[in-house]
């Protein structure tokens, strides 16, 4: 069941990735890109990395696709190219190429997925992992972490959180620095107009506390 879903997600991802490139309308290709992201996160759900799947959906579909859409709208692409020439000449080799890619993607999915992810046997044979028997003449230092056993015991998000904030502290803090630079940089790049424009602003407090008795007064008529 999982492998059917996995291959279906892979094929849908590949097909919509093709439509991202081939679609004459840039907004449509952004929407096809959303389909690519959704199917990629579905594949990650099937590989049981739930946190990465959810983050991919939240960040890429929710945020970055919106940004791409904004970029497309800011580019102001007005001409819509018709596809007559492509249909006459280029579709032959492109469809053949897409068939080849489809077969390749199915085959890759079948080998990788069925042999490692969804089978009951452990992902790495234990003889290769042990310290006493390094295997293949390779000397391995330290102990090998068998992620399959650990992942059965806890959620992926818990395992992720246990190592991210202690072992990967530098990554988290430097990610925060990158976010800070992104925020300051976007403000500096885009917000140059406001500082020099001395426009008359609204002052909400004064306007709302304004009283009719003091604002409207009677003027003697001469």
């Amino acid at each position: 069941m999982e492998i059917v879903l996995f291959e279906r997600a892979s094929l849908r991802m590949r097909g919509s990735a093709r439509m991202v490139v081939r679609s004459p309308n840039a907004v449509h290709s952004v929407l096809y890109r959303v389909v690519v992201f959704v199917n990629a996160s579905m594949r990650r759900f099937l590989l049981q990395v739930e946190f990465r799947a959810r983050i991919l959906r939240v960040v890429y579909v929710g945020a970055i696709a919106v940004l791409f859409r904004f970029v497309v709208m800011m580019l102001n692409l007005s001409e819509t190219r018709t596809e007559n020439q492509v249909g006459a000449n280029g579709l032959g080799w492109q469809s053949r190429q897409s068939q080849v890619f489809a077969r390749m993607s199915v085959r890759l999915g079948r080998t990788r997925v069925s042999r490692y992810a969804f089978s009951s046997e452990p992902r790495i044979p234990s003889t290769r992992a042990s310290v006493e028997n390094p295997g293949n003449g390779l000397r391995r230092t330290g102990t090998y972490v068998e992620w399959v056993k650990i992942m059965d015991q806890m959620w992926g998000i818990t395992a992720f959180g246990q190592i991210l904030y202690t072992d990967g502290m530098m990554y988290v803090v430097s990610a925060g620095m990158v976010l800070l630079v992104a925020m300051v940089g976007s403000i500096v790049l885009t917000l140059k107009v406001r500082r020099f424009a001395m426009a008359k602003r609204q002052q909400i407090d004064q306007q709302r506390s304004r009283d009719a008795d003091r604002a409207v007064m009677r003027v003697k008529n001469r």
Partner: protein, 92 residues
């Protein structure tokens, strides 16, 4: 939609406006401040999603993990205070 043959021409692909030719494009350019708001949304979205595994695995962490998250949040608070002071949060 993927398989069916499509023979699009200029009339089919343009926006339909009640019989006459369209005056202008259906999409129009917009202010860059929308883009700024979207970028800010992404930043705090990412911050919130970094908090989820931290919150779930807090019982297994030492105080070192707590301090990591505190520094991470502090860096973003610096950016937030900067945006507030400069006036990027106001729409005018």
């Amino acid at each position: 939609m993927l398989v069916a043959p499509q023979a699009g021409d200029a009339e089919k692909l343009s926006a339909y406006e009640c019989g006459f030719n369209p005056f202008d494009d259906a999409r129009s350019r917009f202010d860059i401040r929308f883009y700024l708001v979207a970028i800010r949304f992404i930043l705090f979205d990412l911050e919130a999603s970094f908090r989820f595994p931290w919150a779930v695995s807090m019982s297994e962490q030492t105080s070192f993990g707590y301090r990591t998250m505190r520094d991470f949040v502090r860096e973003l608070v610096v950016g937030y205070v900067y945006a507030w002071k400069v006036g990027a949060l106001e729409w005018e």
